[in-house]
């Protein structure tokens, strides 16, 4: 019983992490059809930015509550900044090229940004644990849960709901839906696709940075954290169906719960879980659970 409860709570926390990391990736893919490897850099810059912000804030002895907000905003600002540089500086020159070529462009930028991190922050690692410590914990039976983790789950839920709402009810959201559905038609109706692309990329960049910012208190912010996240986020998005926010949510839940179950029941399998789930899902649903791929008409 306790194990089942633990699997669900751990699974939810891990799913929240995965969703926050993957949602920006799936949005960019849905709208721009770009599998964005620099998403790992957004995550890393977000985490480093949050750690820097934590240093600025808590070294002055400012209150904990505002600290987290400051970290998140600071990280998103950094995400916005590098997002602008990447999109305006390189990506817009390769729109319309093969999808795979664009992936490689983002891969190249990712390689460069990995070293930019070293140049800015040096090779040492950073910590930003204050918000998690300040949040405290509650006991549920034998299990102690971190309130910060619960907050993560709530945040993931809020982001998912807000995303759904924005896509359905805001003007820009509806524009996006049109572009996702059919690029050419959108252009024919006079939608400025270039502007939509830029805005989407920046939102995706900020979401990626936010993912890094909310994880920063839990981890040691160190070189290479972006690499790990890329494959993880790709797997989640592929399982859910590329370009679908609901898909990212379901994909994150599936991976999160499977991994938690593996750790509790068969820890030896932990290493394979994500890829096994991915291969399994794709074996039956080639384009993911919530795919929007339609067969071509002749």
């Amino acid at each position: 019983m306790l194990t089942a409860f633990a699997i669900v709570t751990d699974g939810l926390v891990y799913a929240a992490y995965l969703f926050l990391v993957a949602v920006g990736l799936t949005l960019i893919f849905g709208v721009m059809k770009i599998l964005n490897v620099t998403h790992g850099s957004f995550y890393a810059f977000g985490a480093y930015g949050a750690a820097t912000a934590a240093g600025i804030w808590f070294d002055r002895g400012l209150p904990d509550a505002g600290g987290f907000l400051f970290m998140a905003l600071f990280a998103m600002a950094i995400g916005l900044l590098i997002g602008i540089i990447i999109e305006r500086g390189t990506l817009r020159f390769v729109y319309g090229r093969d999808e795979v070529v664009v992936v490689l462009v983002t891969y190249a930028i990712f390689l460069i940004l990995e070293d930019v991190i070293v140049l800015i922050w040096g090779p040492r690692s950073y910590a930003a644990y204050q918000p998690m410590v300040a949040a405290g914990s509650i006991d549920v039976g034998d299990l102690t849960l971190s309130i910060y983790d619960i907050g993560l789950v709530v945040l993931a839920g809020v982001v998912a709901a807000a995303g759904r709402w924005a896509l359905k009810y805001t003007r820009y959201g509806r524009l996006l839906t049109v572009v996702i559905f059919d690029r050419e038609t959108a252009a024919a109706y006079g939608i400025n696709v270039t502007v939509v692309y830029t805005v989407t990329f920046l939102i995706g960049a900020m979401l990626g940075a936010l993912g890094g910012a909310v994880m920063a208190p839990k981890i040691s912010v160190t070189l290479g954290i972006g690499v790990e996240v890329i494959v993880l986020a790709f797997a989640v998005v592929a399982i859910g169906g590329m370009g679908s926010v609901e898909g990212a949510l379901i994909g994150a839940l599936i991976v999160g719960i499977s991994r938690a179950a593996a750790v509790h029941l068969v820890p030896q399998l932990e290493l394979f879980v994500i890829y096994a789930v991915m291969a399994l899902v794709l074996g039956f649903r080639p384009y993911g659970l919530f795919s929007q791929v339609q067969p071509r008409k002749i």
Partner: protein, 435 residues
């Protein structure tokens, strides 16, 4: 066909390149310097905890040696009066890249010796190449005992002890503190180092305390970052200690997350590589954590002239105390210096050849910041040392962690005897250990 361009391009590039390189490295003084290639992680996740401290250690020690300012008997300039010139190379990349760069150091850059390698995989891959090229190679960190167990080596040395003693000593220390321990768990990264550490530790516990049972055996993937499920599992366990060989980023992440969920109130951590993070974690590392430093390094170092000297020069330059990779780098360079100078003395004058240095390296003993090193295993190619474990305590006044209750273990107590395979030795109950 484009193939012919490869010829032109490669020849042109290599000519331009070697030309440039040799011009750069033209001897400044009359006597050509001793050229050392230093290979360590300068990028990637292992750079911050291991690579950079060891590079710093190399820089500061080489500087001191070149100035003739190290404590006796290391107070001759450089190696035997000749200054040392170091070239630093990144260990990150595929094994093929590591091997290629090793060849470049030996064949293109004509290094007199290569000192380096943190990853055991790198050491295993470089070893046969070093033997083939007859290049003097000194490993300073990689832990696997396999290097000298698989085959006798001639040109390869590893002055710091291998990883076996980290876990045999950990078991002995745990039993010294908790004689009646009944249940324990482990969390180790799912890669060679984590798997080997856990196997050695469990093997040693079986031999020393057959009644102690293993509860949870967790093996999260390397750099997982999120340990919620692992911590929950451990919270449901009645284990009395948690063995881990986590290091740096993963260790810090695990400590933050387990602290937030009160795991340390249930069971203390026994960490074989905890020392590398104590300066950063400060009060976030729970008191009572059992601290290993892969030898008597850092706060576990014996109080002698060498450890005081090394800690002082390192701290002055880099504003933080040296951690164990820095100690191991210093140890390896001092060992090489001893071997070099004794070869030079035997020869009478001039630069000793590689074979002469190799001959005088085998089986020597020398003092290092972490105590006496004896090249006792692997036909005199593998060093052993006394090791130590202690208990972490945060000192609020100094705002600094310290390690108390230090217990030392003689080298022969925690290392296999010469000629015996470490795995077999542990499996057979660590016969012949002299404690």
């Amino acid at each position: 066909m484009d193939i012919r361009w490869s010829l032109v391009a490669s020849v042109a590039l290599s000519l331009a390149y070697t030309g440039g390189a040799s011009a750069q490295q033209a001897p400044a003084a009359d006597a050509p310097p001793v050229k050392l290639g230093i290979v360590t992680f300068l990028s990637g996740p292992a750079a911050s905890p291991f690579g950079v401290p060891s590079r710093n250690g190399a820089e500061i020690v080489i500087e001191a040696l070149n100035a003739g300012k190290a404590p006796a008997p290391y107070n001759t300039v450089g190696f035997g009066g000749t200054k040392i010139e170091a070239k630093y190379v990144d260990e990150a990349g595929s094994t093929a890249q590591v091997v290629t760069e090793f060849r470049n150091l030996v064949q293109r850059d004509k290094m007199d010796a290569v000192v380096g390698y943190i990853s055991s995989g790198s050491c295993l891959a470089v070893t046969p190449v070093a033997e083939e090229l007859q290049a003097l190679t000194v490993y300073f960190d990689c832990g696997t005992p396999r290097i000298f167990e698989e085959k006798a080596r001639k040109y390869v040395f590893r002055p710091p002890p291998h990883a076996t003693m980290d876990n045999t000593a950990a078991a002995r220390f745990l039993l010294a503190k908790k004689k009646d321990i009944k249940l324990l768990s482990g969390i180790n990264q799912n890669y060679a180092w984590g798997q080997d550490s856990w196997r050695d530790f469990v093997g040693a516990m079986k031999a020393l305390a057959p009644k102690a049972a293993v509860d949870k055996e967790l093996m999260p993937k390397l750099f997982a970052g999120e340990y919620g499920a692992e911590i929950s599992t451990l919270l449901t366990s009645k284990s009395e200690a948690l063995h881990t060989s986590f290091w740096d980023g993963d260790l810090e992440s695990f400590v933050y997350q387990s602290q937030a969920r009160g795991l340390s109130r249930r069971m203390p951590i026994l960490g074989t590589a905890v020392e590398s993070v104590i300066w950063r974690l400060k009060d976030k590392l729970p008191d009572g954590t059992i601290v290993g430093a892969r030898g008597a390094n850092g706060p576990l170092a014996p109080d002698n002239a060498y450890s005081r000297w090394f800690k002082q020069i390192y701290t002055e330059r880099y504003n933080s105390p040296p951690n164990y990779p820095a100690y191991q780098m210093a140890l390896s360079l001092l060992g090489l210096k001893v071997a070099w100078e004794s070869a030079q003395k035997k020869k009478g004058s001039g630069k000793p050849t590689t074979d002469e240095v190799v001959a005088s390296f085998e089986g020597i003993s020398f003092d290092a910041p972490s105590g006496l090193v004896r090249m006792a295993l692997g036909n005199g190619h593998q060093g052993i040392q006394d090791t130590a474990y202690g208990i972490y305590k945060f000192n609020k006044q100094k705002n600094e962690g310290e390690v108390v209750d230090i217990m030392r273990f003689p080298a022969e107590c925690v290392n296999p005897p010469a000629g015996q395979n470490a795995d077999d030795w542990i499996r057979d109950g660590m016969k012949g250990a002299k404690c």
